[in-house]
Symmetry: C2
Amino acid sequence: MAKNLKMKSARAALDLTQKDLAQKTGVSRQTINLIEKGEYNPSLALCLKVCKVLHCTLDDLFWDEE
Amino acid sequence: MAKNLKMKSARAALDLTQKDLAQKTGVSRQTINLIEKGEYNPSLALCLKVCKVLHCTLDDLFWDEE
DNA sequence: TCTAAAAGTAAAATATATATTACTTTAATT
DNA sequence: AATTAAAGTAATATATATTTTACTTTTAGA
């Protein structure tokens, strides 16, 4: 997986730290960090939580390929 | 999670069985069955594979909530 | 009605996402 | 330059997605 810059910038647009987003989504800060870094493979449930907090859809944040 | 009828019908539209879709996405048939039944929480990587095989986007297949 | 393919379901095993703790590095502010 | 918050990173532990095997039920066609 590649770096998730869309997520990073959506978070920045709301002026949230990784820690803030972690708390709002109910996961650890490291998990958020690793997702943004593209080092793994979040569950759908977590993707949906992130979308809601960042006021985006799945395609906005997690759709890349071609 | 709720039943994923969007995925079920996208699969039906291409005339694929659960087994077919499982083979094309590289997972087991049971995994496909459980996702359609809404009994768990696939990884993003798997969602993306399913989307590609079914010619849909994440929002098409996995976005529900209001 | 028989048959076979497809779908549904379950238990145990394995792989991997995520948590926890803790340390390092970067960026911003004083 | 010193301090602090934020971000990056790593090791180990835990929760859970996914596989495997195997059985049952439903559906469609002969």
